[in-house]
Structure formats: structure tokens, C-alpha cells
Subunit: 387 residues, 2 copies
């Protein structure tokens, strides 16, 4: 397999943009990424575009050729991927595999979602379709309720970490204050989180990630051709992992460990030839505060049952030993579903290039992104390294 | 790249099954394919699952892990692909590329769609989302109307072939009479087609493909390991091509040639090292009768503007020189969108194995499948050869 690098990145601000269409979002982020790569459009050989649920929220499927038309990419092959909240990383991995194997030298990978134009109930229904429609949603399950069950089980197994867990949200909001692309620029406290509007016990509204519009694109190239056009620091994809699990909660072996994360992380670490301790910073899927806690344990950063204490001790803050979600995460940067995995990768590249400004992680040489779909049924982990 | 072969196939009957869920359809077709391959489930390393619009029609997204759970495939990685009516072939090509490149030795590829449980208007709205929601559908466009424009333009450029075009439907219905999996078992005449219930001039209901439920799965394996378990004749994937085009009709260079077909066909022929004349039979995307005419021209089987005359002369009938759609095609076998591309491949394998019974094509050694999405915005062509 050939080495593959990220040679261009671009994203929109995340937020609520009633006046902007899917086309607008794609155009802005895609144009930025192509421009950042310093590449002529004619060199782009394929488009991989993640979109979770435009089919339902905007009655727009077939997003691949929509993207290639908007960006003027001609008759190149396009693929839309979908795997719930891991949709963006799925697109990334397909593009990565195609370049690594030598099918293409340069591809464009993107993710886009538009959610805020629909009413809350419609957004919730569309999100719930990432769970099992017949066996879960028909019984009233929504994602806050599913992850609330996970949180309660975690409390049962490892003790009530309600206040420590809230620190995830506080830190992510702190980081987002330093990210101009973030949707939420608002400082919060542990007490704000714990006393917030109740959603599903133990979650308040501050434990939950945002509903967002946004798009993010990256240009991937075989490392040995990247030098022909890329003028910025090359960021190599050092590791990639992808594993799955049952879609229904009832079929999972554990509620407090995501099997898919274990598998994807193992593959990515092995491919990169590193251990968790070698990671300098990570973007970790924080759809809910408890998810971030479980994920940083499953990724091997902290022992099982000890993640919340590590967060509360400041070890994952921007100036801690292992900064988590310097971008602000799904919680505060935003969570436009199909875009999220790509936006995590965007942050990894920005950090490794040293372009993160006020939120720059020190010595950011090796970054990890972790993207989870459904209640843990799809997981992708990627590891990036500066060259 | 390694040689890859289809080592197992399974499909449901196509039709209207109000009592059967997406799970039921996946379970039947997937189990049949795994059984046909004679393989233990533990050898399957990844699942590629095409589904067009379960997100809208069944409020079920995230179909990858749904499929792996139903089929008991454990924590393998899964991917849902979507590219309008080419969704199934997109899943196939991703699986093919992954095995050819050596990422996996054995993968399962499937396609599923459930449409008939929704009202006609909802089905039409869901289908229309494969066109541009803002620039086409908002103006009232649906797929019958878009392809009717294509037919009228074809008439303008090459003459009115209304009656000759109708022979596509007649032949596909004839073939479907011999296919037990076909939805429609009904002999029709050219007069039935021309005098049928009008849909969008020049189409009557008999020019239009069916609304269907169905699923189809295939097992793909590296040819050099296939001998370890496959007891049937190996069917090698000799060629694969994938090209695209603008999503909107207005942005296309021509309405009577699909640029994406030209590109995908060129790639597939080149990879297989053959010319169109070397193809013994083909499954060709016939969402409407005019589409089949344009496609058999674009694929190089007949000169531009001469496809309809070739069909009317019986040259594409089951006993003709180049049988087209021996399965009955989208018109009469059925068109469960995400399943269709896989079901075309199913037919290619059945024919090459010599298992097609009453509809067996003579000397079926090399078969081609052609799958088109939207109004020609996504196209995949595959070529299969017996070993």
C-alpha cells in the first residue's frame, strides 16, 4: 500500500444558516479545500461524499453528482457514503483505500449536512433512523434516551460520575471559544451543565451535542505525488481502522465499552505502529458527555472506569497532557452529522500544520480522530502524522 | 491488483411484500448468498450494503450494521452506499476494489429496498430525490417526466421510434415469464404498451419500470482463495468502470447519450481487454424503455440512433444475437432501487454458471451489467467471465 497524505482542507463555519443551501455549503468547503491544496481541479479523479440524511431532511439523495456538479469536477466517479454519525469518516476511508491501493492518485473527500431548517421533531426523527426503526424507535427510543441508558449503566458499573462527566462539556466549550468555525461561543460551568434543562436522565441539554449545518472537504493524495503541488506541511494518514457492531443496543455485549471502537483503534494503532501514549491530541466523538468518557477509555488513553476522573483533573484540557477535542468537539464546534468525521480530520491537520492559532496544541505531531455511528454500531479511527 | 470472483449469490423474489420487513429481505438474500458460496460466516471480513432510500421510506438509515446484525456477522466493518438507482453497483464496486487491493480476501455485498409499503406519492417523492431538489424537483420534475424529455429529444434527433421502443418492454416481459424471481409474469404486446395508461408523453405505464421490494447479495472473494470453499463455477469480475455526470439535466452535454455510461464502459472494456462485440449477453438499465435504447447504443452494441431498430428486429431477444435483460430487467423482473445493481450481477452469474433454466442464454461466457443512477449522473459497468 502507498502512503497517503492530506494535502488540502476546507470547511464552513458550523451553525444555523437558514439562507444557505446544501449546494452553498458544498461549494464553500470544497472550493476552500481545493484551493488549500493548490491543485487544479482536473487532477481530482474521484469524489467521496458523506451525507447522513439529506434524503429525509431536504428530500435530496444522490449527493455525489450534486457535489461534483457544484464544484465543476466533470464526469469523475462519485460515491455517497452513509453510516450514521460516522458517515464522514466512512467517505474518508473509502478515498484513502482507493489512493493507497493505486486506483487513483488524488481524490476529494467531503461531508455535508443541513439540519437546522427542519423542526426539532423532524430532526429527532431523522436522527433516530440511525437506530433500529422496528426494534428501538418504534418503542419510543431516541438517541438521547439510548445514550442516557448507557450513562446510567456506566454509573452502575463505575460509580456516579455526573459532575466529572460535565467537565467534558465545559472543556469543549472552552476550546470552541478559540475556534472561529465553532457554532457555540459560550463559556459554561459544571453547575450550568448539571442544572441545565433536563433531556433524559442524567443528561441535560448541556450534555448533548448540537444540531448544525456545515460542510468540510479534504484533498487526499498519494504522498509521492503530493510534492508536485502541495506547498504546506504534508500530513500523512498513518493509521486507519474500521469496525462495527450490532445496530440494536440489546444485541451488544457491553453498554460501557464500544466493541467497534476497540476494533477500529487496534487496527489504526497497528497500522501506524504506535501506542495510545504516542498520541499528542485527539478529536473524539462526543455526541453526549458520557460518550467522550467511554471513548477515551476504549481508545486506551485512560483505564476503564477512570476516564471521567482524568477529564475532571484537567488532563484532557487544551493545556493538559492529552488535549481532547481542541476544536470544541461535537458539543461546541457543532455536529452536522455527515460533516463531523471530516471536520475532526480538518482539526487534526490544522493542529499538525501548526495553524490552530489560539487553540494550538503544543508539539502536535501525532493526532487521532475517532468517529462513532449510532449507539456504537460503526466506528472509524484515523491517525495522522506530520512529515 | 488481484483477480476477484463472485463465489456466492442469493436474492429474494422481487415484488410487493407487505408482510416482510427490511430485516426479512436481508436475511433471506444474505443467507442464500452465504450458503451458495459454501463459506463459513467467520470468513466474511466486511459488508458493503446498498440502500437507496430506507431513510425516507422506512425511517431506517444506518443499514450497514442492521445487515451485519441480521446476518450474524459480528463486528466486521460495514458501509452503506447510495447513488440513486446505481446504489447496488456502487456497493459492489467498493467491495471489489477492497478485495482486488488486498485489504480483504472475502466480502459480502448486498442491496435492499422496500418501497411498496408507501403510498404512490411518497414513493414518487422519494425517487425524485435522486434529481436536484432545488433546481428540478421544486419545479415539478419527477423521473418519468425527466426521461420523457430525453425520449422526446431522442425522437427529435433520430426519428420517432415509439413503437420500436415499446419492443423493449415486450421482450423484457417475455424474459420475465421465464424468471421465477420476477415480479411481473404477464405477456404484453406493442399495442398494449402504446395504448397503455399515459404517464408522461411518450411514456405509458408499460414504458416504466416497476416499484418493488427485494434484496440481493453476492459473496466476492480473491480468486486465488475462492477454490478453498466454492464448489460452483467461478465467475470472475473481468472489468469494472465507474463514471459520473452532472446531477441536473440542464448541465448535461447531451440528452441522448449518457456521458457517464461512455466513461464507465470504456474503463470496463479496457480492464477486461474486450470489445462490445465480445459480450454474449447484458443486463442493461431499463428504468424506461428509452433508457434501454440509449444504453445499448452508448455501450457500443449498436450505432447511435439504431438501437431501437435493432431491438425491434429481435436482435436483443433471448434467442437473438445479443440477449439484453434475460432476467426481465427493471421493467418486468422489478426495480427495488438499491437491490437492482446486485440483481443484474446475480443474473450475469446465473447465466455464466448455466443455471438459468428456461431463460438460459446460449454460450453465456461473457456478460455485462450496466447500472445507471438519476438522469445519467452515476453509471457503473461490470464485465463477468466464466473460469
Amino acid at each position: 500500500m502507498r502512503s497517503v497524505s492530506v494535502v488540502g482542507i476546507g470547511e464552513t463555519k458550523m451553525g444555523k444558516f437558514p439562507e444557505r443551501s446544501l449546494r452553498d455549503l458544498i461549494l464553500e468547503a470544497g472550493t476552500k479545500a481545493i484551493g488549500d491544496a493548490g491543485i487544479e481541479k482536473e487532477r481530482i479523479e474521484a469524489l467521496y461524499l458523506g451525507n447522513y440524511n439529506g434524503s429525509y431532511w431536504s428530500l435530496q439523495s444522490h449527493m455525489g453528482p450534486l457535489g461534483s456538479e457544484v464544484l465543476g469536477l466533470g464526469d469523475i466517479p462519485t460515491l455517497r457514503t452513509e453510516g450514521a454519525c460516522a458517515t464522514g469518516s466512512l467517505a474518508f476511508r473509502q478515498g484513502l483505500m482507493a489512493v493507497a491501493a493505486g486506483f487513483y492518485d488524488v481524490v476529494l473527500v467531503g461531508g455535508v449536512e443541513k439540519m437546522t431548517h427542519r423542526q426539532t421533531e423532524t430532526v429527532t426523527t431523522g436522527l433516530a433512523s440511525a437506530a433500529d426503526a422496528d426494534l428501538e424507535v418504534s418503542l419510543g427510543a431516541t438517541f438521547p434516551s439510548l445514550f442516557a441508558m448507557i450513562a446510567n449503566r456506566y454509573f452502575f458499573e463505575y460509580g456516579n460520575v455526573r459532575e466529572q462527566m460535565a467537565v467534558c462539556a465545559v472543556q469543549n466549550h472552552d476550546n470552541a471559544l478559540l475556534n472561529p468555525d465553532a457554532q457555540m461561543h459560550k463559556k459554561i460551568t459544571v453547575q450550568d451543565v448539571c442544572n441545565g434543562f433536563p433531556v433524559a436522565y442524567p443528561f441535560t441539554v448541556y450534555d448533548c451535542s448540537l444540531v448544525s449545518d456545515g460542510a468540510c472537504f479534504v484533498v487526499l493524495a498519494a504522498t509521492d505525488v503530493a510534492g508536485e503541488f502541495c506547498k504546506k506541511r504534508l500530513v500523512e494518514v498513518a493509521g486507519s481502522g474500521h469496525a462495527g457492531d450490532a445496530i440494536t443496543m440489546a444485541a451488544k455485549k457491553s453498554l460501557t465499552t464500544f466493541t467497534a471502537t476497540l476494533g477500529a483503534a487496534r487496527q489504526a494503532y497497528e497500522m501506524a505502529g504506535i501506542r495510545p501514549a504516542d498520541v499528542d491530541f485527539a478529536e473524539v466523538h462526543d455526541c453526549f458527555t458520557i460518550t467522550q468518557i467511554i471513548n477515551i477509555e476504549d481508545l486506551g488513553f485512560f483505564p476503564k472506569g477512570r476516564g471521567a476522573a482524568a477529564v475532571a483533573a484537567g488532563r484532557t484540557a487544551l493545556d493538559g497532557e492529552l488535549p481532547i477535542n481542541p476544536s470544541g468537539g461535537l458539543k461546541a464546534k457543532g455536529h452536522p452529522i455527515g460533516c463531523t468525521g471530516l471536520s475532526q480530520i480538518y482539526e487534526a491537520v490544522v493542529q499538525i500544520r501548526g495553524e490552530a492559532g489560539a487553540r494550538q496544541v503544543k508539539n502536535a505531531e501525532t493526532g487521532l480522530t475517532h468517529n462513532l455511528g449510532g449507539s456504537g454500531a460503526t466506528c472509524l479511527v484515523h491517525i495522522f502524522r506530520g512529515r
